[in-house]
Amino acid sequence: MVVENENPDTLELLALARAGDAEAFGEICRVHGTPLLRQAVALCGNLTLAEDLAQDTLVEAWKGLHRYNGRCQFFTWLCAILLNRYRNVLRANRLRPAASLGARNQDEFEKHTGNLPDHATLPDQAVELREQAVLVRQCVQALPAKHQQVIYLRFYVDDSLEGIAAALGFSVGTVKSRLFHALDKLRKMNAFSAQRSDFKMKGGML
């Protein structure tokens, strides 16, 4: 099964890149560089680290292009690599996720991730939305890594269950099961309970 709604240009470039055409892969980097960087910033909240993550993701994709089987969006596959690299960085540096850092870094995280969809809201509402966004991210980052992956790819990268399964190398059944458990755990967290904002972090990391 090959994903049907992939951009034809990307498909053509991928075919060339697979045959060893470095320029074609360079063009892919041009197309996906900015979206990938945005995902990385949203993930880690640090532009310098995000740039490194996005670049290393594209390098890893180039080195392992033969592993991409076309069963998910190419961008979903890139995001799955990005998630793994971010987890490795956290492990290596024993960092806590950006969204769970202290107030100073929190400001930086909010600055980078604060462009929420509704720009026309009042300043107070915008601040509230931003705070909610941080809380939601904290909740997601408190989940086990396997649940974070599925939530991230489903709601922030927005691919089909089949695409997510292909990108992560699992069956659709596994993805559905993890999706249920992740949503159920989030439901139980205070941040998702109505009118409650006294969320306490569990301190998990990706």
């Binding site: 060893g20 392992g64 929420l116 939305l129 939530i151 249920f180």
Partner: protein, 191 residues
């Protein structure tokens, strides 16, 4: 009121657009009558709505510097060699316990089978002893007078068989008694 246990997954998948049409119809019919499931649906919907609402879109662009640095990293990197591809493939297989465990079990079974098969028998059967004879040479006087030995020599050359029989016929008789209880394989007590 609690949701029905068997419907919790279906509700979560329904909210995440992961339910087929038939299941969706069945669940919707159930939701009209079950207050617990309806409440669970509202809670899960709240989670997904917040996840979607807080989807951030950082206002950053990959700069020219980003691409130049990336180009440098790409130049330094080479696509995986066939060896690396194979190693990665095998690593992927071996890290998957669903494949690794049966493969390991199969290897153990094969190893045990080979070990048992190669184990030498301590007490060869009389028939085998009779068949396993010494290599044929010109001096076949020592060959025991069995049918198998005669057949083997005959298959090589009838002249050889003739010579062997002549030689063995000219040998002096053994001084030991031939027909004893032990040579006949009879127990001493039976006499």
């Amino acid at each position: 009121m609690k949701p029905c246990t068997q419907n919790r997954k279906l509700i979560a998948w329904f909210v995440a657009n992961a339910l087929d049409a038939r299941q969706t119809r069945q669940l919707q019919a159930h939701l009209e009558t079950c207050e617990g499931c309806l409440r669970y649906l509202a809670e899960i919907s709240n989670v997904t709505e917040r996840l979607v609402a807080t989807q951030s879109n950082p206002d950053v662009q990959a700069s020219e510097n980003f691409h130049q640095k990336l180009a440098g990293k790409l130049r330094a990197a080479k696509p995986d060699s066939m060896g690396e591809i194979l190693a990665a493939y095998l690593r992927g297989i071996l890290l998957n316990w669903r494949v690794a465990v049966p493969a390991f079990a199969a290897l153990v079974v094969i190893g045990l089978t080979v070990a048992i098969w190669r184990q030498p028998s301590n007490a060869p059967s009389p028939t085998m002893a009779g068949i396993r004879t010494a290599p044929v040479s010109d001096a076949d006087d020592d060959l025991s007078p069995t049918i198998a030995n005669y057949q083997r020599v005959a298959s090589q050359s009838l002249d050889k068989l003739d010579a062997l029989l002549t030689r063995q016929g000219n040998r002096p008789l053994p001084s030991m008694p031939i027909y004893t209880a032990s040579t006949l394989g009879l127990a001493q007590e039976s006499f």
